[in-house]
Subunit: 315 residues, 2 copies
C-alpha cells in the first residue's frame, strides 16, 4: 500500500512516497513561495502530490499533509498557519481533491512527527510516547495507546507553551515563562549571548560575538565536545529546564517515554543528560520507573512518514 | 441498576447506595481506624459494603472503591496509600470478594471525583473536562471523550504536581514549585501567615495570629466577603498561580472545561476569578475560546457517585 506524505513548511514543501511496509521510498523538496499567497501554495502542494504519485510503484491511496497552524478536528481545514501570509482558513482536502483527484487529510506537523516516530522510528516499540520537537519553536505530539491524543478540538500537545516559571522570560507566545522561552532555538541563543559576552576569551566569544545571529546549538555542542566549559554550562542549563517541563508532561499524562527531535535536540546528551537528571529529581517516585528520553534519528523524515501513516490509517 | 460506592480516606470510610438513574440513594460514614492496620481497614470496608447492600432496594451489582495511593492499571490493587500505615500492596478486589461475595473495582479517588462530576454533576454536559480537587493536597482527574484518561500505567492527572516555578517553594512532593506548594490548603495558609503578621491591625491577625493552625480558606473567603483587602489579596494571589497551572493543563490536553472541588475551591470567585483572568492572559489565543471554570456543587458525593459509576461501567 502506497501513500503520499507532505510536510508543508513556511520555507519548503517536502513530499514523499511512503510504502506501508517499507517506509520512505523517495522524497523531494520544493520552495513553498509562501509570498505568492495561498492559491499558489496549494498549487505547489498539488504539483508535489502529482509528481510523487508519478514516482510511486502503484497508485497511492491519497495524501497525508502535515501543516503548521490550527487543524480542524475533522482534519480537513488549516487555519492561520504561521509563516504562510494571507492564508486565513482553508479546506485543504477540498482544494487538493479539486486539483489532483487525490483524497487528502491534514494534521498538525508536530503531531505527525510523533506518529511517524511511533510507526517507523525509535517509538515503534512504545504503546504511548511524547514527541518533543526542539527547533526554532518547541512543539510536540502525544501518542496514547498507539493513537494520537488530539484533545477536545484537535489542538492538544502544545508542549512548548507549558509554563515552568510564571515570572520567567517572554516568548513569542502569550505563555510567558514557558519552556519555549528557554530552549526554543532563538531563545537558547538569546540567553547564551550575555554569558558569552562575560567570557571574552572563550572560543565562542571569538567566533560569534561579532555575528551572534550565526550561533546555533550545534556550535555549542561542538564546543562542548571540545571541553568548553561555558558551552557545557549553557547546554546543561537548557537541559535542566527542559527536565522540569518533562516533569509536567509526565505528571499530567503518565507517559514516561519521551522522544526528542529537531535542531536543538542535536546537541544530544549535553542537553538530554541534564534534562534526565533534573526530571528524575522532581518526578514523584512512582513516575521515575520507566522514564527515559530517546533521540529520534529519522529527523524530518518522521514528519513525512507520519503524514503517509495518517493517509494509511484514515483515508 | 444499583451499585455500592466507597470512598476510602485516611480518616473516614464513606459508603453509598447508588442508583444508575437516580444517583445517590443514601450514604454513610464510619471512622477508618487506619491505625488498626490493613486487615482491620478491609474488614471495615467490607462491613460498609454489606451494610449498604442491606439498605439497597435491589441486589447491588458490586462495589466501586475510591482510594488514595497508586491503583494498578487493572483496577484491582492499591499500593502504599498515604495515611494508611502498613498497607503495602493489597489486591482490594480479592479481599473484598472474599469478605463480602461482591465484585469490587478500585480507582484513584480524585479520578472518581472526575467521573462522578461527569456522570451526575456539573460536568454532565461535557465530553471532556478536567477535575481539580483543591484540598489539603491538590489532585485531579481527566475525562476525555466521556472516559477517564488514565495514562500508560493508570497514574495520570497528578495535577497538583505540575511545576509553575521551578525556583518555587518546597511542597510535600519532590516536585518543588508545583501548584500544590501554593494552593494546597496548608501551603496557602503557610504563605498567608507572614502577610497577616505584617498587618497586625487586620481582623485576620486578631483572630488567628495566636492560633494560625485554625486558619482555613473559608475564614479568608469570609473576610474577603466582608471587604478585607488582605484576605482578598491572599486569595487572589493563590488564584493567579492556579491560573498558570490551568494554562499548562490546557496547552497539553486541549481540554478547556475546568471543574473545581474541595475546601480551597469553596473560597469561590475570590480564587476562581483571578484564576480565570491569569489563565486568559497566558493561554494561546485559540485556547481561550470555550475556556471556563465551574464549581462542583456535589462536594464529596461526587467521589461516591464516581465509585458507583465505576461499578456500573466496569463490573
Amino acid at each position: 500500500m502506497i501513500s503520499i506524505g507532505i510536510d508543508l513548511g513556511g520555507t519548503n514543501i517536502k513530499s514523499a512516497v511512503v510504502d506501508r511496509e517499507k517506509g520512505l521510498l523517495s522524497s523531494h523538496s520544493v520552495p513553498t513561495n509562501a509570498a505568492g499567497g495561498p492559491d499558489a501554495v496549494l498549487d505547489r502542494i498539488a504539483e508535489a502530490i502529482t509528481s510523487a504519485a508519478d514516482d510511486a510503484p502503484e497508485k497511492p491511496l491519497g495524501a497525508g499533509i502535515g501543516a503548521p497552524g490550527i487543524i480542524s478536528l475533522d482534519r480537513t481545514t488549516v487555519s492561520h498557519p504561521p509563516n504562510l501570509p494571507g492564508w486565513g482558513v482553508i479546506n485543504v482536502n477540498e482544494e487538493i481533491k479539486k486539483r489532483t483527484g487525490f483524497d487528502a487529510i491534514v494534521e498538525n506537523d508536530a503531531n505527525l512527527m510523533a506518529l511517524g516516530s511511533s510507526r517507523y522510528g525509535v517509538g515503534r516499540d512504545l504503546d504511548s510516547m511524547i514527541m518533543l520537537t526542539l527547533g526554532t519553536g518547541v512543539g510536540g505530539g502525544i501518542i496514547y495507546k498507539r493513537e494520537l491524543y488530539r484533545g477536545a478540538t484537535g489542538g492538544a500537545a502544545e508542549m512548548g507553551h507549558v509554563i515552568i516559571d510564571y515570572n520567567g522570560p517572554e516568548s513569542y507566545s502569550s505563555a510567558r515563562g514557558d519552556i519555549e522561552a528557554y530552549i526554543g532555538q532563538r531563545f537558547l541563543i538569546r540567553n547564551a549571548i550575555p554569558l558569552i559576552k562575560n567570557h571574552p576569551g572563550n572560543p565562542l566569544a571569538k567566533k560569534f560575538l561579532d555575528k551572534p545571529d550565526e550561533l546555533e546549538p550545534v556550535h555549542l555542542s561542538n564546543e562542548a565536545d571540545n571541553g568548553n566549559e561555558l558551552a557545557i554550562q549553557i547546554l546543561a542549563d537548557a537541559g535542566r529546564v527542559l527536565g522540569y517541563a518533562i516533569v509536567n508532561y509526565i505528571h499530567i499524562l503518565d507517559i514516561r517515554n519521551i522522544i526528542v527531535s529537531g535542531g536543538v535536540a542535536k546537541a544530544g546528551d549535553w542537553i538530554l543528560e541534564p534534562a534526565r537528571k533534573a526530571a528524575l529529581e522532581r518526578l514523584m517516585p512512582p513516575f521515575r520507573e520507566g522514564f527515559e528520553i530517546r533521540y529520534e534519528t529519522l529527523g524530518n523524515d518522521a514528519a513525512l512518514l507520519g503524514a503517509g501513516s495518517l493517509a494509511f490509517e484514515f483515508l
